[in-house]
Amino acid sequence: MERVETLLKVRGLTVCFPQANGLKTVVKDVSFDLNRGEILGLVGESGSGKSMTASAICRLLPEKAQVRAGLVDFEGTNLLSISEKEMRNKYRGKRISMVFQDAVGTFNPVVPVGKQIEEMLTLHSDVPRKNLREEAEKLLQQAYISDYSEKYGSISAFLSGGQAQRASIAMMALATKPDILIADEATTALDATVQAQVLDFMVKTARENNISLILITHDFGLVARYADKVVVLRDGEVAEKGLVKDVFSRPKSAFVRAVLRDLPRMDKPLREKRSPEASSPAVLTLEGLHVDYPLFKRRGLLQRRSGSVKAVDGVSLTLQKGEIFGLVGESGSGKTTLMRAVLDVLPPNAEVSGNINVLGSDIYELSSKDNLALRRRIGGVPQASRQSLTPRMRIRDLVGEGLDILNLYESSSSKGKEKEKTERVAELLEAVGIPLGRMWDYPARLSGGEQQRIAIARALAPNPEILILDEPTASLDASRKNTILELLVRLHDELGLTYVVISHELSTIASVCDTVAVMKDGQVVETGTPEKVFGSPEHPYTQKLVSSVPVPPKPAV
């Protein structure tokens, strides 16, 4: 057995924010130990204080935040009591380093990536000046960036999300080999397979260099897969901590038990699935759909068409009435373009060929009037519900806007219309579980989950028959994912809707969908029931996708 060396002791850490009515405690009496070379998962939902805890260790809290109590003991030194200068010169970056969620944004956008790695080397290592470039390129190479010489000189905007995060790990951890690396939601924004690559690289870097890793995440599955120890935070307090295998298999706290129970799971459907043999009329049919975006190349002063980006490359699908159809794939696979084609909201330079038949009519052959009439029968809930809610419109007007646009009123007087609108919006809010009192609020006052509900209510306003939901659970905490999915299932059953659910989260798809199609590079590579597609994937891409998803731990009952 190796000798266990405790590197970091956090004791009674309490962080407050001043507010209009006194102090708000965001981290309350948090204590844990971190041993050398260990991987610790700091997990909790948004607002649970996990990022604040990490920032407090590095003393990078927002200026308004105050550490009210506690101790951060790093090899016998209390980091909270030393001077800022000492912290900067001796610890930050050198002994304790951090990587963040926004990997592309972590680099100065106008300075070459390689130069920023060199900056780190200059600060904390004794690499001689003339070898800086060589060393920086070597670090990029170690971060699996194949064209490392070229990427050394390019700005971060030219890096993909995965490349940027690996480069940032190279800069913040590989370059200086700190004792502790804190990864603050470092893979949250990445696709499943990329997330797995980045995490594997990060864990490898930590293990090989004996770096202790603090993984901050909201993803319990990720902690279960990678961490040795876990600290579960809830409302700023430690709900439970211990070895991963103990906490997840025999959770002591009611909170962790409830979270584990509520996680959307591949093997836990939220509804009774239709039998694959059942048949009902087709409501949406795609036949050989292609969506291309033209590419131009410049020759001298003239631009010439040089080819196309095939966003959707020959997709044929049929949706039956009442079906919940899932579409999975990573960013760039064409899911969203497909949805936009069906909703007829593609950018003007898109070139479409093939047929889209919605409720019996081919949408590209309709007159604009008939097309408008069809619009009310097919609705969409866009991906980022927060951005899709105009901040200066009240909830009532946001939800009821579709009624105005399509003029779905019985009365002709404006007063009568207003009354109908209020009544209909009240009905919708009740259906999605938003208190009627919020009707006159602005969207900024709502939480992420509530905003998602508003976006759903808005799509339901014209009484559509088909609803296309783009990443309905992507931005939500685990426990809220489930409530939104349950809401969607209830609405589906009550209103007899047909859904297309687009998601990169296999668990979301598996828990509600009757059928799933896996997309890659604009093509559907595999279709079938989620049980079949995810349980025994046939296509190599599906296999890779399924294996890279961290499986949420299942508590022993």
Binding site: L60, R92, S97, F100, N108, V110, H124, L301
Partner: protein, 317 residues
């Protein structure tokens, strides 16, 4: 990358002749159709109808306006702006050049000081945000922006010249006046007026940058705040700053209309005002067209510089 820049520059500058045409026609028509007959000025109030017609023919005022425009622009292209009506023996080009030699150095020095001071105050306010210094600095300089420059310069004359007797109360000499103590009061006035706008602009931009992830990362690297300020904050503030710098220089020029008038500076602004009142239309035309061309040209150049300096612009297109 290089050919990208050349292509973009070419594209932007190709628009310039169109602007030139539109603005010159606009300015020409405004001056030509403005009330007041130039013949009155040349001939004087007592001239006979015969003399007036002779003059009208001689100067070409009897021809249709579009013909006048074409012949005027023909001369304009050869940098011949005609002769002044008020100083009938002197060419407009010569008169303007004399004034530009006085105004340009004055404006340049004042705006460089103003912009530099503005950046300094703005950055300082950002790093001291939320403290009393932030508030005092910005509201302090706001006073200078709120007081019109014509009052501000009178205040300075009153204080430094009349009360304390440290500085002269008026401009000394022609273009060489910039080297005398008499340049201090106008430069002080002109630069102070611009400082606050600049400072607020810088503060807004840099406050936004301070919240960017790359600034947090720079802190997490253990970088010294001064290095973060220059390498990260200023380096990124410079881009939006470039787009407003040129308009800001023109604001300084506007301020000089009052300052030149009050301080007795024989500069371009004062000359323009006198020419407007004296209906010296060749001067007004030349100043109007040259001025608008200069501002359009500099804005186009800034666009190109921005393209060169920001590697992301080419991505977005």
């Amino acid at each position: 990358m290089r050919s990208e820049v050349v292509f973009y520059a070419f594209k932007r500058l190709a628009i310039f002749p169109i602007y030139f045409l539109v603005f010159s026609i606009l300015i020409f028509s405004v001056v030509m159709y403005a009330p007041g007959d130039p013949v009155d000025i040349i001939a004087g109030p007592t001239a006979s109808e015969e003399t007036r017609q002779l003059i009208s023919k001689e100067y070409g005022f009897d021809r249709p306006v579009y013909e006048q425009y074409i012949s005027y622009m023909g001369d304009f292209m050869r940098l011949d702006f005609g002769n002044s009506l008020r100083f009938s023996d002197r060419s407009v080009g010569e008169l303007l050049w004399e004034r530009v030699q006085v105004s340009a150095p004055l404006g340049l020095v004042a705006s460089v000081i103003g912009v530099f001071l503005g950046i300094l105050v703005g950055l300082f306010a950002t790093f001291k945000r939320g403290t009393w210094l932030d508030t005092v600095l910005l509201s302090g300089f706001l006073v200078f922006a709120a007081i019109p420059s014509l009052l501000l310069i009178q205040f300075f004359i009153l204080l430094f010249s009349l009360k304390l007797g440290w500085l002269p109360a008026g401009w000394q000499g022609g273009w060489e006046g910039i080297f005398t103590t008499s340049a201090i009061i106008p430069i002080l006035t002109l630069s102070l007026v611009g400082v606050v706008g600049m400072a607020r602009f810088i503060r807004t931009i840099t406050l936004g940058i301070m919240d960017e992830q790359y600034v947090r990362t720079a802190k997490a690297k253990g970088l010294h705040p001064a290095k973060i300020a220059t390498r990260y904050v200023l380096r990124n503030a410079w881009l939006p700053l470039m787009t407003v710098l040129i308009p800001i220089f023109f604001t300084f020029f506007e301020g000089s209309f009052f300052v030149e008038q009050i301080y007795g500076i024989p500069g371009l602004a004062r000359f323009t005002i006198d020419s407007v009142f004296g209906r010296d239309y060749p001067v007004i035309l030349a100043v109007g067209i040259l001025g608008s061309m200069l501002s359009i040209f500099t804005i186009l150049v800034v666009d190109i510089l921005y393209f060169v300096a920001d590697p992301r612009v080419s991505l977005k297109r």
